[in-house]
Amino acid sequence: MHFDLVGLPPSPDAISEFQKRIESDGIDSALAAETDALLASPQFGERWGRHWLDVARFAESSGKEANISFPYAWRYRDYVIDAVNAALPFDRFLIEQIAGDLLPYDNDADRARLLIATGFLAIGPKNLDEMNPLQFAADVADEQLDTVTRAVMASSVACARCHDHKFDPFSMQDYYALSSLFASTKTYFGTAVSPSNQIGGDPLVLPVGANAPILHPSIGKQRVEQLKTQLASLKKEQQDRIAAAMKARQSGGDAEKKFSIRDALRIFWTSGGIEGQLKKVDESGQALPLAMGVMDRQRIVNSPLLERGEINKPGQRIPRGFPRVFEIANSPRVPFRQSGRLEFARWLTHPDHPLTARVMTNRAWRHLLGAGLVRTMDNFGFNGERPSHPELLDTLAVRFMSDGWSIKKLVREIVLSRTYRQSSAYHEDAFRTDPENRLLWRAAKRRLDAEAIRDAMLVVAGELDTSRPVGSLVGTKIGDRPISLIGLDPNIPADLDGSKHRSVYLPVLRDRLPDVLDLFDFAEPSLVTGDRETTNVPVQALYLMNSSFVQSRATALANRVQREADDHEQRLRHAFVLCFSRAPDAVEIKLAAAFFEAEKGLTDKQYQQLLANYCQALLATAEFRNLD
């Protein structure tokens, strides 16, 4: 339960407290109290916020061919964690992420928070190599529409971009009605034009009064003036060259000599870089607080339906609106002067909407019981699977809404249920009839997620820093640059992991994840992911055997048990208790003793090394990363 709610193992003290409580108050009351304590701890948001970050395809780089880092994406990560901890009702949580920029606010801090929330729409993968800005804009809107509908409704509305949906009731009309909301929205992603980035993106400037931490340096007024002068001279050069080229052409000369493609690219890239620098500071060169997010455009549009989704085949203009298959009485209409995202968010979170609450309930169920009631987490459409227990899903979803869309209450209800509390013991007959445990005859055996494996190692080694780091490696060290080149920077660890903070704060770069996340089946950060895979391959074993991260944790754990236990046997036992939250049985004690007996006459140093080898063996066991 500790792993399920906070993603960390319980300390030996917490376990003995809990046992005392069971004896004094009975199991039900002890469990309820423990659940409430965990729900109230800040680690709950780090665990359950991460579940939403999987769905929100959170990442700190653009992915695709160019793959440029997003230096401000981490603010959205922190927003999600804080929102979960603050028990923000799920409907409000969605509204803020889809339309936070359009909501009223009390003060600068509130405004900043709401703007950061819209980072949800801005952090998606982007093809920054795209040369056609119209195509780029259409792709961004498509990605936003796809993410929102998959994440919230578990539906693939985006399939209707080029043709009516082949299986589900979404037409092209629905698609273009909805995509206009996003076409009327400007996305601020904050990466400057460079040789590897054809598409510049403005950053979103947060209100200064919010006092958000700023990770990039100020440059001073003088430098600002310098950059402005440079930019102006580049602009002038461009104008002059264009004029000269025009003149040459008119007089039959060689226009290319006056303005070559080389010059054009040099000016484009250099000015892009300068503009990027200027956008990060105010007039006096003071660094600005920046974020990723969206705001309505000046011009609100009703996009034309594109025949076969082709940008150069515009058809009839489609009025903005929401998919017509779900008719919701009294749902708000799209306003004339705004994009309509706010009304869309209200439509999605309307109590009569048939999918939103069910999809979220199913997500929570999956994180606690190993598989969803609908196992195709992100597809509730015709091609998805039917629910195993439809009435249960309905009841939980309705209760979720009537409980004020409270994720904490939903989690509490499931955790205290008899189903959750079943043991994972094996029954031959039940297994033969229902090997996939669809009928929930036992608790699922599950391997821990990548983050939990890493965090647990830091915990047992006594090294975990539970504070939140400011920013992320991307904000502090990597900045705004192509991910493919960071391997050449000796200041950045090869496995991107030099931190003792919780894994949720590791950098999440598309196609270049930290080793531990990459190897242990982290959610693919370019896709809405409600269900992570579990693989079991030798490269994971190699990581546990040979990586410097695991070796360092083993050494730290060995030091800890040497510090905390007096004699050899106590140390072996103590390491066991720390790693598995239980004492070793007779066989295990023999195995541990035998490991040391083979070696006689050890020096202190050799003993320490052997103790570290022993500790690493415990970290590498299957039991360490599997939940019963």
Partner: protein, 480 residues
């Protein structure tokens, strides 16, 4: 030796548990836990070589996976009528709504003595025409990437099922217990991701091991004179602190603890998988660094495959050399996903040219190289994407997905070389002659490996499952 049949295999799993149970206490258990790894591996049967159902024509597979759906009518399926009617309203498929037929912008010619029709974008592969068996009548169920990609790999897209590589490894075991029996190079993370090389309900040890996705763009590689794939494709392969003996002692402890846990839990595939993958990982440390290190290859080989800074063939060339080295070392199933796209909705002419330029030479080199080493006759080389493309245009200069008819080729291990099998209609839209569904294709691949697709089963949840479900006919005419 057991045959890979469900009954005998599940008995062997059961008996393993009984052995564990009976030895699970005191010194008997300790002695058992300390057994040499060869003996353990052989009894586990996870990777030990298995007898085939009938004599195998191929011992291993190299699957060249063309992610995105290569356009068969521009590569392998020559359609003069499509060129003649280019620009006419399409009389077929979804294009009937008004899309126009699009003739191929590429010239076709008959290549080799067998006279296979091939597109001009395959100049090098054309020289190997007499080695190829082209199937022009492939079919798959859906024209969507993720479903079709999963079906190509696992037979099914609705359910989590083992991939064809996992079935192969399960059916045949491996010839080299120091390497994973199934390696996948550069697999995509979308389109079903790890499911495409997953083991489903088969023993976890049969899932594919992924290597080498490190890369820097060709542009920078050329500028910096660096390899496009810097560093080892597999990390953590060496232990800097412990000697092999020390590590062996450590892993013996891990294994004993794992087995003890398994004995308590009775059924826990995750732990069984962990035991096997640790043993494999330990053994891999001795062999993998050499196999993955391409520096021992002579300059002539680099030249043959088109490897060199800034060359468009550099990355795929390296991957093809790596595939050959893995094949030589006894890996059973090797898949390479080409690091180029084939999903040409737009700008077909330019983009398809780029994709073929990056792959044509390395693939031809792979066939040449396998042949000169005497490996081609028992290596099945497969080139396939998840579907083909429509004969009618999309965006004016691109093509849409088409699942009703497309082309793949196979070479080596037991296929009739220089053969064209099956045919689509006059425009290349739908397979009309000797259609080969994915299930038929899977059945044929297994057949070439000496496995009967109806007898290669695994009992799961009370039912015997097959790669081909209840379908599949071996395309006997393509067998040499």
């Amino acid at each position: 030796m057991t045959t890979p049949h469900s009954d005998s295999r599940s008995t062997s799993l059961l008996s393993r548990r009984h052995v564990l149970k009976s030895c699970a206490s005191g010194f008997g258990y300790l002695a058992f836990a300390g057994l040499a790894h060869e003996a353990a591996a052989a009894r586990d049967g996870g990777l030990a070589p298995q007898a085939t159902h009938f004599p195998a024509r191929a011992k291993r597979v190299i699957f060249l996976c063309m992610n995105g759906g290569p356009s068969h009518v521009d590569l392998l399926d020559y359609k003069p009528s499509l060129n003649q009617h280019s620009g006419d309203s399409s009389p077929i498929g979804r294009g009937r709504g008004g899309a126009k037929l699009l003739g191929s912008p590429f010239r076709f010619a008959q290549r080799g003595e067998s006279g296979l029709w091939m597109s001009e974008v395959f100049p090098e592969l054309g020289k190997q025409a007499d080695e190829l068996c082209v199937i022009n009548s492939m079919q798959t169920d859906l024209p969507n990437h993720s479903q079709a990609f999963l079906q190509m790999h696992c037979g099914s897209f609705q359910f989590v099922r083992p991939s064809v590589g996992a079935w192969t490894l399960y059916g045949l075991g491996t010839e080299n217990t120091n390497l994973p029996g199934f390696v996948t190079i550069n697999p995509p993370s979308d389109n079903g991701g790890a499911r495409n090389y997953g083991s489903g309900f088969l023993p976890a040890i049969s899932q594919g091991t992924r290597v080498g996705t490190n890369q820097i763009p060709a542009f920078y590689a050329a500028l910096l004179r660096k390899d496009q794939e810097p560093g080892p494709p597999l990390k953590n392969i060496e232990n800097k602190n412990l000697s092999r003996e020390q590590q062996r002692a450590q892993l013996d402890l891990v294994r004993s603890l794992n087995r003890h846990k398994l004995e308590r839990d009775v059924h826990h595939p995750e732990i069984e998988g962990a035991i096997e993958s640790f043993e494999l990982a330990f053994r891999m440390q001795d062999e993998v660094p050499d196999v993955l290190d391409l520096r021992s290859e002579p300059e002539s080989i680099f030249k043959l495959y088109g490897v060199g800074s800034g060359l468009p063939t550099d990355r795929f060339g390296r991957q093809c050399i790596l595939a050959r080295r893995l094949a030589e070392s006894g890996v059973r199933f090797i898949e390479i996903t080409a690091p180029v796209g084939w999903d040409h909705h737009f700008l077909l002419k330019d983009e398809l040219t780029k994709s073929t330029l990056a792959t044509d030479r390395p693939i031809a080199a792979l066939l040449t190289d396998l042949k000169q080493r005497g490996l081609l006759h028992d290596t099945l080389v497969v080139w396939a994407g998840e579907f083909g493309r429509t004969p009618y245009a999309q965006s004016g200069n691109g093509r849409d997905h088409n699942n009703k008819g497309y082309s793949i080729w196979m070479a080596g291990g037991g296929v009739k070389a220089g053969l064209t099998y099956g045919a689509t209609d006059e425009f290349g839209y739908e397979a009309v002659e000797k259609p080969v569904h994915i299930h038929d294709w899977h059945a044929t691949i297994l057949h070439l490996l000496g496995l009967d697709h109806e007898r290669l089963t695994f009992n799961y949840g009370g039912r015997d499952f097959r790669l081909t479900d209840v379908y599949g006919n071996v395309a006997t005419e393509i067998l040499a």
